[in-house]
Symmetry: C2
Subunit: 225 residues, 2 copies
């Protein structure tokens, strides 16, 4: 009944659509309940597919998790990397574009990033944590390279802690997106709501991060030390 209703879009939902649909649902359930908390029965139930289809398509529960992973990171690095490698603009402009792209993408895919962050926050080192750490580090490296370039060129202050600044940028985002119950209380509206994200959170976060970076990094006039 409900199943037939959902095939209204193209009348013929082919294999890849179905796999994608499963991954969409799984991503959300993983974000809601965590990897261990999300059972294969619940995921398949929410996706309206037979439980065995998860194993048929992805081999195992962990296969589903990894498939979500690979789907997201395929286009993950390219944009940010291109910004970092663009030599036609100065460091501050790079930073500006980086923030723009980063905030947009990370808020849009917040389910994925919540899931990601929860897994990497397990202190026990596993194959999965290594893999996640490696991927996240690529983003970090681009950001850090921009900062260091700006410091060398004299564009940014010399006495800055670029490493902890990384923690600030990514940590601020994480706090807002990954702990929605708290951040919603702080800023006064539901940060999980799509419309709030687009019209309020994204522009505000962009503006804020830029002004924070500017205050900490850019030499306005003379001495700070």
């Amino acid at each position: 009944m409900n199943q037939t209703m959902e095939k209204d879009k193209t009348e013929k939902a082919d294999k890849t659509d179905k796999k994608d649909h499963i991954l969409d649902v799984a991503e959300k359930v993983f974000a809601e309940l965590g990897y261990d908390g999300a059972s294969t029965r619940l995921i398949s139930g929410e996706a309206n597919v037979n439980m065995a289809m998860l194993n048929y398509y992805f081999g195992s529960k962990e296969g589903v998790f990894m498939a979500i992973f690979e789907r997201r990171i395929s286009s993950f690095q390219s944009i940010l990397l291109s910004i970092g490698n663009d030599d036609s603009i100065n460091a501050w402009e790079k930073l500006d574009r980086y923030i723009e792209s980063y905030v947009d993408r990370v808020v849009n895919n917040n389910c994925f990033h919540v899931m990601l962050h929860r897994e990497i926050s397990k202190s026990k080192k596993t194959e999965l944590t290594d893999q996640i750490a490696g991927i996240m580090m690529k983003n970090v490296s681009v950001f850090q390279a921009i900062i260091d370039t700006g410091i060398k060129s004299g564009e940014f202050k010399k006495d800055t802690d670029s490493q902890l600044l990384v923690a600030t940028i990514f940590g601020t985002k994480n706090y807002l997106v990954n702990t929605p119950h708290i951040s919603s209380l702080i800023i006064g509206y539901d940060v999980m709501d799509k419309e709030n994200q687009d019209k309020k959170l994204k522009p505000r976060l962009k503006t804020y991060l830029k002004s924070l970076l500017k205050a900490y990094l850019v030499n306005e006039n003379d001495n700070n030390k």
Copy 2:
């Protein structure tokens, strides 16, 4: 064998010591594997107690979790609240003391905070998330009150986003402490190592947060806009 060896301290390890021991172990296991990932068998095994003792002492697995909780938050608020209510010092000094106390306590109890953060990052609202959110908000409120006081008194800039600044302070800490695999790669040493935490991470984080706050909040000379 191993059990008799551990009774060397006072020869009579009484009840509260044992309960505390269980909570110590459980806190660590929860941080390592998450709430769902940590089984009662593993916890009791690591603590060298019979599995039934968890239920005997704490009623249930969730009871263990809550007991860890209550043990930490008892002295949680008092220090920060006293700083916020101290009217003999100005806003910046309050902020300074807040950062000092906060960083010390939060790095010392990093296992607890990792555990906490992972549970609150579940987007599905539960009784537990509500309770955690309520407690965390107390810390947030103290910090925010200090900022707002400083803005009113003219000590801090007017055009600041105090709400997102909260996300920055707590988010920066979270990023460093809760994702040790990444942050260790970034700053070049193991952030989970106790000695590194005390001699390197803590002072560096304090210095950094203060300078970041100063750059963003304090009017050094004149215009920024």
